[in-house]
């Protein structure tokens, strides 16, 4: 059986499974925004948006967009009943003050010690942009990463040490990829589950870093 890589939606659904009732959650721009579509309907989960929203709801119907009500990716969203608006210093106090339970971020690389690189490739012609990533990475109680396991050229994004500029030091707790779900523990990386058709030894080989089974 060939490897059944998880689709982006399947990764998002796997992340959503680990978000409990009552959690305050920030979903980073890009891939992590997909998680919102997979949150179990029987759980009440509070979505935070860095630009001053708690209780963020799904995208509005076409024609109902309100450009004063956008998410961190500047796309129109809605507010759930019970939602609230606040200014930027309060919004980042929620992160830095440790009030958010979970943030989900994309990544270029995650190191075995939980170091995260996701804001800059360091390429000389690249325009750097950091946004709220550094605040989220160190502020949320638990930082989840959602990413492709391998780069386009087949290199593992799980690394001994990040070669891209760091976003945060030792901050990542969980990594969700198209190949596996991996927990970052003080004793190293632990694979919790992996894609159908992929055997554990192959996962270790592709990852290029030490991995243990749960």
């Amino acid at each position: 059986m060939s490897i059944q890589r998880r689709t982006r939606d399947q990764i998002a659904a796997r992340v959503a499974r680990d978000i409990p009732e009552g959690a305050y959650v920030n979903l980073g721009i890009g891939l992590p925004t997909l998680v919102a579509n997979h949150l179990p309907r029987d759980r009440e989960i509070f979505l935070h948006s860095e630009n001053g929203i708690l209780g963020m709801g799904p995208a509005p119907a076409k024609g109902e967009e309100d450009w004063d009500l956008i998410n961190a990716g500047k796309q129109p969203v809605t507010l759930l009943p019970g939602g609230a608006f606040f200014h930027h210093a309060d919004s980042f106090a929620m992160m830095r003050g440790g009030h958010l339970d979970i943030c989900v971020l994309g990544a270029f690389q995650v190191a075995v010690n939980g170091d995260l690189a996701n804001w800059h490739t360091g390429a000389p012609d690249a325009i750097p942009a950091v946004g709220g990533a550094m605040d989220l990475a160190v502020g949320a109680k638990r930082t989840f990463v959602m990413m492709e396991h391998l780069t386009k050229s087949g290199e593992s994004k799980l690394v001994e040490r990040c070669t891209y500029p760091l976003t945060g030091v030792g901050c990542v707790k969980m990594v969700y990829t198209d190949l596996a779900t991996i927990e970052v523990t003080p004793q190293g990386l632990v694979a919790l589950d992996w894609a159908d058709g992929l055997d554990f030894d192959e996962l270790v080989r592709l990852s290029g870093v030490p991995l243990r089974r749960a």
């Binding site: 001053g52 009500l69 956008i70 200014h87 980042f92 950091v130 550094m134 605040d135 502020g139 030091v169």
Partner: protein, 228 residues
């Protein structure tokens, strides 16, 4: 009688000098004081230092200010956007200085300026390139970076309603940086869609009290704004 409602945006901005540090509210297009930025371009001040979350997109707001060649330096968290072409080309040509600041540090540095805080230690950015050369300290077993306030000569913010004492309310997520930037500049100009009589704003919901506001500029509500 105190009346902070200005005759025009031009009148409110008459005192702006070349080289001024200008705090601009807004996150993407939401809360961006486009009409006041147009008036700033019209005013002609140059060598400006712009402090805002983004570095402009499309042809309006900060992008228009950049295109007009009025900006020496921009302090922001997220300059790169799909249509930030004016920023991109000036930056790549070496004609624009960029100070990249993590968004929460940007907000807190502005808040600190408004609150009279001399500096603060933040965990954000510790161990990264954006904290290089900055003083660090271990507090309670955690590492922190020392960050300094960002004071503005001028703040331009977009609010929803205002009164002649300068009290302001905002609309939805267009609030974003407005309230903290209003507090952090020597002169704060707020554009509003509606002015009301004193007492017309419920004191329980005033977000920016008038003490932080120098001038209020009424602007007409334009049609539905296009996507940022």
């Amino acid at each position: 009688m105190i009346n902070k409602i200005a005759a025009s945006a031009a009148a409110a901005l008459a005192g702006v000098r070349d080289g001024a540090t200008v705090l601009l509210g807004g996150f993407g297009g939401a809360g961006m004081p486009d009409e006041l930025i147009d008036a700033l371009i019209e005013h002609g001040a140059r060598d400006l230092v712009i402090v805002s979350n983004n570095a402009g997109n499309g042809e309006t707001g900060i992008a228009a200010l950049l295109k007009a060649g009025r900006v020496r330096k921009i302090v922001c968290s997220f300059p790169r956007q799909a249509d930030s072409h004016h920023f991109d080309s000036l930056y790549r040509a070496g004609k624009l200085e960029l100070e990249l600041v993590p968004q929460g540090n940007l907000a807190e540095r502005v808040r600190a300026a408004g609150a009279g805080v001399g500096a603060f230690y933040t965990p954000t950015g510790y161990g990264t390139d954006l904290a290089k050369g900055k003083e660090v300290r271990e507090i309670g077993g955690r590492m922190y970076v020392l960050e300094y306030p960002i004071h503005g000569d001028l703040a331009l913010v977009k609010a929803e309603r205002g009164d002649r004492w300068g009290n302001l309310t905002y609309r939805k997520a267009a609030r974003n940086f407005g309230p903290i930037m209003a507090s952090a500049a020597r002169c704060t100009v707020a554009q509003v869609y509606e002015t009301v009589e004193l007492g017309g704003l419920d004191p329980e919901i005033i977000v920016t009290p008038g003490i932080f506001v120098t001038h209020v500029v009424p602007v007409p509500r334009s049609g539905a704004r296009e996507a940022a």
